[in-house]
Structure formats: structure tokens, C-alpha cells
Subunit: 359 residues, 2 copies
């Protein structure tokens, strides 16, 4: 499922910028595409799917209309396929930063490490926010982020001969532990609040075998403090269930506590948030900022229910509102089952057209 | 695709009566079912699907979310399958008649030939109206409806030895002509405004062969009048393209001009229609009548687009509004991917539940 990627920094001018590549962001691409509008899509994750992939990729969803059962993974793949004719440009692993309106009415939106956008319309399809790695909330620990503090094991071999403490009990934590033993780290210590793991049975069995063989150590407890000297993280304090403390020297701290969504910079966009949600006009799904729309779980309006089926409708009406804003005139509805124009856009004109029979 | 049928007259008390078994009516069944509400469904057609089946059963639709391409037939089958766990009771071939509110606040709704309902909530998912056979607009002709004037050929054998005039150029008209020749009608005359037919090539070829063999006669023209004596239809006047008239004696007139939707009795329900559409509150999709909702193409509200994706959202919010009305309390959202209660209702609790792994 790797759609085209666009990672070059610079300034990109566009009619439509979509923040979030979850199901609603993907359907926003599709509905804009039917109206002749190409979109750029930014997502903090390295792939499409948003919550559907982060929270329940393999769990069945039963209330997508006309799909009696489908997983988050399948839903994502279907929506990617459906929007593919409109060739969106995806910017993966990018978080949007500040938003400000230019004097010409367009919206300038930055990203942390990627391009800056100047967009006529912005669609916030950010769900519950940008997914970010959960960290330990210990004062001063963040100074080691990217050096001695990691949230993802990218290159196990780099840790050969090192003393590594891994925090977490999920699949990522256990797989990292196994990989670090294989990469001949000097010492691998897994710390999790209890001796029960949320991972595949096979992974859990491997970890158990490494523990029994003495290659992997485990403490049921929490990292509650650390000591640093000379700008380096030297040791961490681990508090056990019995309120005892253990101090462990280390070279590397790997925190695998999953991802957690954060609205982050969106809270500073001037969107009149109500309980972390963006109020919108339910006729257009426009926010209080002209040309800025909010669709899916992030918005609120009278009667709102956080359901995918509602987000799909919201993205549809937001696309029409944006099209009318761009054209400065009403946009007539056309049906994909009947319109040759839409069928050409979708690349299905030939298969859909059957000549009328005649004697 | 024959779901369970319920045709016995009488009075049926129900929490939810749905008018229309098109895609939105079927999804209304599903969303009500998730909220624990069973529904009765009335449709003027003898089957599910509404416009999707009557207007474009085999045409591809490209804008159903996560279904890059599907026919009206397939969409209908998928929605029937999805709503099946909630075992709706369908009343086919029934048109609703008057609506009136009982003193206890419930709604009494009749049908022409079927049961009467007393419903706590009524969902109008009637699309563009009830599909009815198009007839000829000739004053006084309707008095022969059901006797000498038919709109569907039910039993060709009954017309053996008769003189039959068929009006129409569609598949139904041509198939009737072929069947009547085979049933040894004394004379079969097909009348259509021009010598071009909207039918399968094979059917057209059979008609052509019967014409060449002299078993079937054809006139390119229109039936513009009739003569009746002694309470019987005796002959029809056919006006040709060249403004000439032909008078044809007959025993039976079969009019096959397709179906046309009519709001019919709904216009008398007190729904404050605007251009044949029912205004609703977009937070609940309730009409001006408490407990009467309108969803899909029949409703209107600011921003309304007549799209299936919007109707699906509307049915969802209407279901929540009705559930809150029935319970007299707020209804919390539950997710089908996580709620064991919903999974039990759907009959998928076992397949969806995976025990948590543990060492």
C-alpha cells in the first residue's frame, strides 16, 4: 500500500490541502477529485489509515455501509484505490505547524520538516489528532530524544555492545528486545508494569525463551527517574510493584508505549475549539475560518456522532462548498452512474458506456 | 434476493416503520438494529433497491465509499445482507396511505391493500416517491384498469384468442409481444412512437423475426383516444407520425411505459413540502412532525445534495434521534469494532472476540 510520496521541501501552491490521511481524508481526496480539484495530503504517520490502522488494523468494523465486515486495513486499501484516479500527493511523516492567512485570502501552512503550503482550501481530517509516540513524562528526559532516547528501533546493529533498557509490553517492545539480543547488545533489559504482554503468542514465546536462557532480563515495574552527567544519560531508576527501587546503568533508552494522538499545533489555529473539537457549519463543514473545513471525528455540530459514515458525508459536502468557493458559483450535482464527464475523470468512461441498442 | 415477506393485513404495532426499501431505507434498518430497534419496511415495488434497481440496476456507481465500483443490484444485495441480522419485516408491493397521530402520540399509517401500522417512529426513505406504472393520460381510460387495461402481463395464456394492443418499446413491451404470440392471441399489435426499441438485442431480433413472419404487427405512433360501449373498451385510435389516424378494435390494452415515481399520499401528510421535498432538522432528520423522520433524496436542509453517501449519514443520525426519543434519555455511541453488545446483536460476537494473550 505505498502511494506516491512527495518529500521535497519548498513551497507548494494548491487548491486543496488535506490534513490527515485516515478514511475521511482519503474520501475527501475522492470527492474533491470528482469536482476537478487536486489535493495534497499531509499525515504525521508514515502511511495512510489514521486511527483505523493505528488503533484497530485487524479488528473487523461492521458499520461501513454495504461492507458487512471489513478491517481497518481493508477499508484503508479500498479508499486508497478509490481515490487513486485523482492522484493525490501524499506527504508522509509530516506534522502541520502554524496556519496563517495571506493577504490574498489563501492559507499558509507549514510542516515541521517538510514543505510549506499555500492553499486556497484546507481540510482538517485529523481525527483525534496527529499520532505521536508516547514517551515517559520525566522532567528533562526529552533532551536525549533522538540520541539516547528512542521511540522506535530503526537499526538494531547500531546497538551492538550497548546496554539497552526497553520500556513497554507491546509487540514493538518485544520485537525490539528479540532484535537487540540477536544484534549482540551487551545487556537488554525489558521493563513493563506487569509480566503480561500485549503481543502475538509467538513473539511472547520467543521472549520467554530468551529470558529463560538468561539473554534477556525483565523487571515488572516503571521507570520513575534518571540520572545524567556530562550531558549523557547514565542510569534510570525503576520502581517495582513492592515500592523498591533498582538503579540500572544504560547507554540507550527505548520507549515503546505506542502512539497517542495530539491536536498539537491545530490548537493554535484560531478554530474556536469546543472540548478539543472544531465547530463547523453542517451545510458546508466550514470552520469559523473561511476556506478551512473540518471533517470527521475532529469536528462538532448539533447531532454529531463520531462515526465514519458521518465523516464520509461531511467530506462530500465540504468538497462541494470548496468547489463553489473556488468557482464563485453554484456547482451542480452530477452522478457517477450517468455522467460521462465524471467517468472520464475516474478513468472508467469506456467500460461504463454502452451504446444504445437499435433495430 | 427474496427477503422474508409479511403480507397479512391487520394492525401492526412497531417502534419503527420505514417507508421505502431503497439503499437508505435498508441502511435505516441496520442503524436502528444496532440501537436495538426492530423495523417494518413498506415498499411499493415487489423487491428491495428502489431507484437503484428501477433506474440503473446494471449501471456502475462509483461514489459509494470504499466500493470503487458497484452496480445498483450489488449495492442492494450488500445492504440487505448487512441489515439481515436485524430481521426486518418487509411489506412488498404496498403503498402507504394516510398518516395521522393518535392521542398517545403514535402514528397511524395505512397501506392500500396491506396492514395498518401504529408506529412510534416513522422514517420516510421514499426517494423520489413510490414507483408506479406510467399509464396513458386519456380521460376515462382508468375505469378499465385491472380488467381491459393492464400495465403488466401476468398470465399470457389468459389472452389466447384475444386481440391485444401493446403500447411501449421497452424490454417489458417486447417480451409481452413475444409471449402473446406464443400464447396464440388472435392478434398482437405493438404501438411505439418510433421503430427503435430500448431492449436487449436478442429480444429485438425475436420481435423483428415475428414481424417479418406476420405474427406481430407494428405501428409507429401513439394511442390518442379510445371508444367504449356497454362499459367495454372497444377500440383505440392511433395517431401516426404523418398525422394520419388508424382505429384498431381490441379486447385488451397493455401499457408498458415503465415506472414513474409519485409522492402520492405523502403530499397529504402535513410535511411542509418545499419543491416536493421534506424539510428536516439536520441534527436529527426529524420533519416538522415529532417522531417522523425523512432521509435520503426526499428530504432537504441547508447544503443538501442528493447523494447516497449523504442519505446513509442521515439514516444514522435519524436512528439515534429515534432511539433517544424512545428511551427518553441520551444514547451513547458504541463502536461495532469494540462493543461486544453490538457484536452479539450482529451475530458476530464469537468471530470478533479474540482472547488477550498472556504469558
Amino acid at each position: 500500500m505505498p502511494p506516491p510520496t512527495h518529500n521535497s521541501p519548498g513551497v507548494i501552491e494548491t487548491d486543496a490541502l488535506i490534513v490527515g490521511a485516515g478514511p475521511i481524508g482519503l474520501f475527501q481526496v475522492f470527492q474533491l477529485g470528482l469536482l476537478g480539484i487536486r489535493a495534497h495530503v499531509v499525515d504525521a504517520l508514515p502511511h495512510a489509515g489514521g486511527q483505523c490502522i493505528e488503533l484497530y488494523p485487524d479488528k473487523a468494523i461492521y458499520d461501513i455501509p454495504a461492507l458487512p465486515s471489513c478491517t481497518g486495513q481493508e477499508l484503508t486499501e479500498r479508499l486508497l484505490a478509490q481515490s487513486a484516479p485523482f492522484a493525490p500527493t501524499f506527504h508522509w511523516g509530516q506534522e502541520v505547524s502554524a496556519l496563517q492567512q495571506n493577504t490574498d485570502g489563501r492559507w499558509a501552512v507549514g510542516t515541521r520538516n517538510g514543505p510549506h503550503f499555500v492553499a486556497r482550501n484546507v481540510f482538517i481530517a485529523a481525527g483525534v489528532g496527529a499520532f505521536q509516540a508516547r514517551s515517559l513524562s520525566l522532567d528533562g528526559l526529552q533532551q536525549f530524544a533522538g540520541t539516547q532516547l528512542l521511540h522506535r528501533l530503526a537499526e538494531p546493529a547500531r546497538h551492538q555492545g550497548q546496554r539497552v533498557v526497553i520500556v513497554g509490553g507491546n509487540e514493538a517492545a518485544l520485537e525490539a528486545a528479540i532484535a537487540l539480543v540477536a544484534a549482540r547488545a551487551q545487556q537488554v533489559l525489558l521493563v513493563h508494569r506487569r509480566d503480561v504482554f500485549q503481543a502475538e503468542p509467538g513473539t511472547i514465546a520467543q521472549v520467554q525463551a530468551l529470558r529463560e536462557a538468561g539473554h534477556l532480563h525483565f523487571i515488572a515495574g516503571q521507570v520513575t527517574g534518571f540520572e545524567a552527567t556530562a550531558g549523557r544519560l547514565q542510569q534510570v531508576h525503576i520502581t517495582h510493584g513492592d515500592a523498591q527501587n533498582t538503579t540500572v546503568p544504560l547507554d540507550q533508552l527505548l520507549v515503546c508505549l505506542g502512539l497517542s494522538p495530539k491536536l498539537g499545533p491545530l490548537t493554535g489555529w484560531g478554530l474556536a475549539l469546543e472540548r478539543k473539537q472544531v465547530p463547523v457549519n453542517p451545510a458546508t463543514f466550514e470552520t469559523c475560518l473561511p476556506g478551512v473545513y473540518a471533517v470527521g471525528d475532529i469536528n462538532t455540530y448539533p447531532g454529531k456522532r463520531k462515526l465514519i459514515v458521518s465523516g464520509l458525508h461531511e467530506a462530500t459536502l465540504a468538497a462541494y462548498a470548496a468547489a463553489e468557493r473556488l468557482r464563485g458559483a453554484p456547482v451542480q450535482l452530477q452522478y457517477t452512474s450517468a455522467s460521462q464527464h465524471l467517468q472520464r475523470l475516474l478513468g472508467v468512461a469506456d467500460e461504463a458506456t454502452t451504446p444504445a441498442p437499435a433495430i
